[in-house]
């Protein structure tokens, strides 16, 4: 499935290919009121990656429920709405508003957007705050809640556990890594917002590490995201413990990357002698870890 923020509401990519190929469509972040977002430039290229500081531009949850989601529904693919906010109240209000929509298959709680001044990031860096937020949001939601974690933390496992304890139905790992690009000629940060979120292949080892680190410690499914471009990247995330994956930045270099990956997967599995992709889930962990994980999942 596409990663939030790189695929809009599917509209534009639906012109290129049939979205029913996709496992789900993840929308860009939705906030309480409409937001204009940051000034420009909002993106910068970096080695094997990019920075973005869009700043949560979106029409606000009301317009999303009224206009955007009903339009997106016709793509025939389950819609996961990415939710962001500056305060706990905003998150809760957005989720409550979404509960009224028949078009939402799941909520992805973006507690990790580094590009907004107030809040946003903080929810994803403190375990206690995250636990509370997840609990409140769960109480309001009619659909599964996936918590999307920030990599900009000392201890990702603590945050993953907090989200699970708060009732999360899944985890997305990872959002972007805070980075900076300098315009040497103009002697100033290249992005209007100064810093931005690093994504793309450059962060793939970081994302893999976090999926691998969290896998033994939670029972809920993990969605791997960060720098995926090829079928082997997908498999690396599965081997590290992700049940699903999202593709973000790669959509920019190749707008057809998602159907291409879906098409290439079966052949690659055959070449590797893998009968079912599930056989690879978490298979890069030592047997003892896999055993404990099975118990943890069974106990849930």
């Amino acid at each position: 499935m596409p990663a939030s923020g790189t695929f809009g509401y599917g509209e534009e990519f639906a012109e290129l290919y049939d979205l029913r190929w996709l496992g789900a469509l993840v929308t860009k972040a939705t906030t309480g009121g409409p937001r204009l977002g940051n000034g420009t430039p909002r993106v910068a290229e970096t080695p094997s990656g990019m920075l973005n500081a869009i700043g949560l531009e979106n029409p606000g949850v009301e317009a999303v429920v009224r206009e955007v989601l009903p339009a997106a529904r016709r793509h025939g693919v389950p819609i996961i709405v990415n939710v962001a906010g500056s305060t706990e109240e905003e998150y809760v209000a957005v989720v409550r508003a979404l509960a009224a929509s028949p078009d939402v298959a799941a909520i992805e709680l973006n507690v990790s957007c580094p590009n907004v001044k107030a809040g946003g990031m903080e929810f994803g860096t403190d375990a206690r705050t995250l636990f509370r937020l997840t609990e409140k949001v769960k109480a309001e939601s009619r659909v599964p809640v996936i918590v999307k974690l920030s990599p900009n933390v000392t201890d990702i496992v603590a945050l993953a556990r907090a989200a699970e304890a708060g009732g999360a139905d899944g985890l997305s790992l990872i959002n972007t890594v805070v980075g900076l690009s300098i315009d040497v000629g103009r002697r100033r940060p290249l992005l209007w917002n100064t810093t931005g979120g690093l994504s793309g292949p450059a962060i793939r080892p970081i994302a893999l590490r976090m999926v691998y680190a969290v896998y033994p410690h939670v029972a809920i499914p993990i969605i791997g995201v960060g720098g995926i471009e090829t079928v082997d990247d997908v498999l690396a995330f599965i081997l590290a413990g992700a049940e699903l994956v999202q593709v973000g930045t790669a959509n920019f270099r190749d707008p057809y990357v998602l159907p291409r990956l879906a098409a290439a997967l079966p052949e690659r599995l055959r070449a590797l002698g893998v009968r079912h992709i599930h056989d690879l889930l978490g298979a890069a962990h030592p047997p003892a870890v896999r055993g404990e994980k099975a118990e943890r999942r069974a106990a849930r």
Partner: protein, 279 residues
Amino acid sequence: MRTGAARIVGRRAIGRSIVELALAVPPAFPEPRPGQFVHVRVPGDALVLRRPLSVADWDERERVLRLIFRVVGEGTARLAALPVGAAVDAFLPPSTGFPLSAVRAGETALLVGGGLGVAPLIFLARALHARGVRVKARIGFACAEDVFGLRRLRAVADVELYTDDGSAGAKGRVTDGLGPEAAFHAAFVCGPVPMLRAFQRMFRGDGRPIYAALEARMACGAGACRACVVPVAEGSALRHRRVCRDGPVFALASLHVAGVPEDGSPDGGRGWADGGGFV
């Protein structure tokens, strides 16, 4: 398929680090319109973003598309280094382009371009001329060495050439001596920020349709990521419009320039949105 392996069938160096590439596009590639751009994948595995380049000309019989660009960084340098015969993955987003219908047969269109901003005007001039529109073009460059498109423009338009140092055409800027009294039914402008700003000031309140083609740093180039927005006035409201999809051409009067620093864009070819300070 809006994207596909185009093939380089021509390659020419123009002046100081400006290159013209002719790309033969595959059958499924849609027909480009003047003012549209292609979002080009560049060789180089560490470069994750495509590069937006205006369609400078289009030969519908041969299905050959021309790009004219300046080598400014890694991406354009790599594109410029490709040999004839190489494949280039070009994506044509469904952008709006120049509204040809703004001017009718027999009427006069004024085309004003500075530097690489002249590139899309070549295609535009030929398209307008083909519709029977009288085309007047004012084009400006830094110096004689940088001049391109002159012959092709002269074939379909009445051209005034300017250079900053007077080494070709008149010494001065394309906006010199231009004013509300200029005779045209519609104008189309493409160039660096200070030029666009001068134009906007000059024609403030002028009722005639004036369109400007903008640049912006892009990611998807397809309308999905909102990297490339510019603030555009719609009635009394200010809305963000995507250069890649709602543009790259906008009504000049609707563009919100308040936040753009008066000293303009120090690095030449840079566009509007790159001026910073919006919102």
